[in-house]
Amino acid sequence: MIAAENISYTIKHRPILDEVSVSLRPGTVTALLGPNGAGKSSLLKCLSGSVQPSTGEVHLDGVRLQNYSLLELSRRRAVLSQSTALSFPFTALELVLMGRNPHTDGPGQEDAQDRARQALESVDAWSLRDRIFPTLSGGEQQRVQLARVLAQIWGQRQACLFLDEPTAALDLKHQHLVFQLIRRLARGNGLTVCVILHDPHLARRYCDRAILMQQGQVFTAGAIAEVLAAENIERVFEIPPDWLDGWESL
């Protein structure tokens, strides 16, 4: 369970997040939606402990996020950032194995190879294992990075997974494969998943809950069907109703 209470985040006096309160539940996939610049990535960073909110607090299982050490946190939550550049010629498998770094001295160090393999297989990228990462296509790179992030918490229960646009570079088939996988992991292993995405169809099909953001604030949050009602989308994204023709009946 991750809960944020009244968190605000400002960069150089510019408010990015304004009094945001949200909670993420184990076993569910929560979609984080909103226009560009609404503060989705910043909220994700606050919830994952990458940045500390200017005011307010984030709790993970009732304990303040700052009270966890980097290592403790890395053993129970994984984060896929929007863009990650790597110009050194690591192979895809070597990269995914880096995801096991937090467990080097702990339980699960022996089967790092197995977990890396399973993570790569789960995103349909095992065949890329010996390819040099910087030479892969954008979509292939994204799948391998996702496998690295999944390997970090592979086989664990009650872990947290934060994904910032995990399917932005993927083709249609892999978009669906990835979201099916994410939902399966949430259901099966009790993962708490929070994912930023732009496609309302994907969100409605695979996510349980949604947080709709607008200008640094939560516009509405709750069950996915209610949050993604046509009038909410029209208002938050400022689009005319006829652009959403048939959305409700889809």
Binding site: S48, S50, L70, L71, L73, S74, R75, R77, A78, V79, S81, T84, A85, L86, S87, F88, P89, F90, T91, A92, L93, E94, L97, M98, G99, N101, P102, T104, Q113, R129, D130, R131, I132, T135, Q152
Partner: protein, 347 residues
Amino acid sequence: MNTVTRASSITLPFLSGRISLLLLMSLALFVSLLMALAIGAVSIPLSALFSGRLSAQDMAVITSIRLPRVLLSAIVGAALAVSGASMQSLFRNPLADPGVIGIASGAALAVAMVIVLAGPMSGVLALYSLSLAAFTGGLVTCLLIFRFTGISGAFSATYMLLAGIAINTLSGAATGFLTYLSDDQQLRALTFWSMGSFGGALWPGVLVATTIVLPATYLLLRNARALNILLLGDEEARYLGVDSRRLQRRVILCTALSVGAAVAVSGIIGFVGLVVPHLIRLTLGPDNRFLLPASALLGALLLVLADTLARTLVAPAELPVGILTSLIGGPFFLWLLIKQYAGRMGL
């Protein structure tokens, strides 16, 4: 499209393959050390070296001239190569090198200041103070470039190289000014020292370099795994449990110490920190757990060979080894770049 692959080198059989390769390189280094002891203006046969039946004169040549010199070139080679490899991870850029980005010249400027302003010195303490000056100069430069390239958030190769050019030019001008101020004796010391040479190598130099370079190198090697993770980015490294700030500070400190010690005892010797890690990365991959120790061994080997060449090519005179490494390293690096470019374009 031809795909680029390499056997993922984490599985155990290959790991032992890597270890045997490290052993092989150690052996090559050992052989080159022996050869370097035997070869020179006075040739001393290896058989005499092994049997221990040396004339008093040969003995003196070995113990007070060649042995310190050979050891020093090995230590400096290892220090420069490991510093280069670590810096490339720090800046996430395979072009980072103590020479290219101005850290060596910053260190050199500090040493030149001490030579000219404090006057000639000798002995172990003097060498330590030169090392301290070089360390300070290197550290300041490294921090400056690190801050400069980190300003935009993402490290940019362009900013790093431009900052390096600016710092190289600045310290070159300042060193030039110091040269202008110096008297004949200082001028001679400055000129030869700045070309990079092991000509004046004595036991105090070996002592100073060893006591600084070994601990620094050990610390860098211990952080090899974390350096791999750092290549993913500051934020990603923290997500994976690596305190990237602390690691960066540690790497800057250790490389500045190593480069400082190397510059203080031997001047600027270019391209070792660039070419050696590059070679290893091209053939065996970028994993720092292997790259760093392999760079240390190959850097040492390369500089022992280069120094042997430098003192035998025009014997009884000798070439500054820094000129030799630049002469070999420069074209070699260009060749690497062209080859890499051609490979990427599928030519």
